[in-house]
């Protein structure tokens, strides 16, 4: 299976779309935003802008990476017959979804690490134990988004998976408060934001960065989303790989 993980990772690292959305966008936005608001403090968390934005952009990068590396490639593999190619080898069926999940999480790392690197080098954020805890939480926290991507890739054809993955990626980032702080949004939008896994995900990061224990609401929200989306991913995967 290591062989398979390596193949999948190699393949995505050569994919231009992945590099643009996952590496260039979050790092670019971080540099831009932190330059504008890096010195201001966020009201709700008390975090400095450069750290608040570090968490936001790391969350966005991880979200983008986990959806990008799953939904469309998987939909294409199913349609183009690569899945069938695998089904007639000794590779067991469960290894495909497990590998996709592991690879998606591996591919989250470049996004997290590059945004962190930009924060450390350009904004002189110090690499503390807290920051490492944030990175670890953001890494594991990407599971529901990878599951969402796999669900999309299992249920839809590439031409419909593509726009839906984009909508999910940008919708979750925008409405979840990764691009603009939720506090800046009107009340109804705030309600929507709090219901989304992307808000729970980033909020856990912000709380850890602020030296607090993440709130129960965000933790419970994240766990609920992780369970539901993973169950959906497994169900959709089984449906997509069933033999006639």
């Amino acid at each position: 299976m290591l062989n398979y993980v390596k193949l999948e990772a190699t393949r995505m690292l050569r994919n231009k779309r992945y590099i643009i959305f996952v590496v260039a966008f979050p790092v670019g936005f971080y540099l831009l935003y932190s330059n504008l608001w890096g010195a201001q403090a966020d009201e709700s968390t008390g975090l400095q802008g450069r750290i608040f934005l570090l968490v936001s952009m790391a969350a966005y990068g991880a979200l983008a990476a986990s959806i990008m590396s799953t939904a469309v490639p998987w939909a294409q593999e199913r349609q183009a017959g690569w899945l069938r190619q695998l089904q007639i080898t000794p590779l067991p069926g469960w290894a495909v979804i497990v590998t996709k999940m592991i690879t998606a999480l591996l591919l989250v790392l470049p996004a997290l690490l590059l945004v962190t690197l930009a924060a450390v080098l350009v904004q002189h954020v110090s690499l503390s134990g807290q920051l490492l805890a944030v990175i670890a939480a953001m890494w594991v926290g990407a599971i529901p988004f990878a599951a969402l991507g796999l669900t999309i890739g299992s249920l839809l054809r590439p031409d419909t998976a593509q726009p839906l993955a984009m909508i999910c990626m940008f919708g979750l980032a925008l409405l979840g408060g990764l691009w603009f702080p939720v506090a800046m949004l009107p009340e109804t939008m705030r309600g929507i934001a709090r219901a989304l896994p992307s808000y729970d995900y980033a909020d856990i990061g912000w709380q850890i960065a602020a030296g607090k224990v993440p709130g129960t609401a965000s933790l419970a929200g994240w766990v609920a989303w992780a369970v539901v989306l993973s169950a959906l991913a497994v169900f959709a995967f089984r449906r997509a790989t069933v033999r006639g």
Binding site: M1, N3, Y4, L7, T10, R11, M12, R14, N15, Q76, E77, A80, G81, W82, R84, Q85, Q87, I88, T89, P90, L91, P92, A95, R243, G244
Partner: protein, 320 residues
Amino acid sequence: MSSRTPDERHCDRRSRAFTVIGMNAIELSGVRKSFGAVRAVDGLDLTMEPGRTVAILGPNGAGKSTTISMLLGLARPTAGTVRVFGHSPEEAVARGEIGAMLQEGALIPELTVRETVDFIRRLYPRPLPLEEILRMADLTELAGRRADRLSGGQTQRVRFALAIAGGPRLLVLDEPTAAMDVESRRAFWESMRGYASAGRTVLFATHYLEEADENSDRVIVMARGRLVADGTAAEIKAGAGAGAGTVAFSLGDQPAAGLDVLPGVTAVDIQGGTVRLVTADVDATVAALYRGTDLDVRDLQVRGADLEDAFLSLTQAAEV
């Protein structure tokens, strides 16, 4: 990758030794496959010994691909049983006994030929060496090229390489040359014969008659989900009754005795020193004429009922 314990692997190897002797490569009995009201395969009984190359010939919609899907465990029969080397298709696939080239199958665009082939070969318990696979599929020169920069014919060669990568005992090819030009086809069949020559079993589906004729030692003709003929290409031509073949030559004043008992011969006609033999098996008759008699055969003329005639008459009969 395998989750099997060393003990189980050991057992596998022992049972392999037993299964080689007297075990059919493929056994289909009473196999039916329905999709809703449509019977794609309708009562198929078939056994195939190991080490042979068998063609499944039939028009589109004859049930060839459905049969292949069931052999590979990609589809389950509605009724009947399918065994591959004594196992269910799923087990045979899991044991690495089967390699296949399906009709459709894109490669991963970002990966090179070498990466793709090496990945697939490592999934098998007893793969062929990488360089040997590349050589057999004529890909050595293209090994470093990315899949999205290959031509159609080159992609087909990679897919052939993927099918043989695990060194499977049974190689299944579903219309492998459909997208190839004449030269690629010739090279492809040469590669296939190279793989088959090591005592492996090959089953291929085609609707090109000459491919079945030239590359197999047994032809199974399917139409409407049923087996309509089974034998060597020559037997099928003869058995179809699509006009017997004739062998004519100058006899001069040599004796004509014994010509009527040559293999396949059904009638002998001699006029003015020229013999015309009507035969059910042109190949066998000609061979026997040269090897089995000491006649001085001159001006040999052979007009065979070709496989095309046979095929048409067989498949049309099944339509009724």
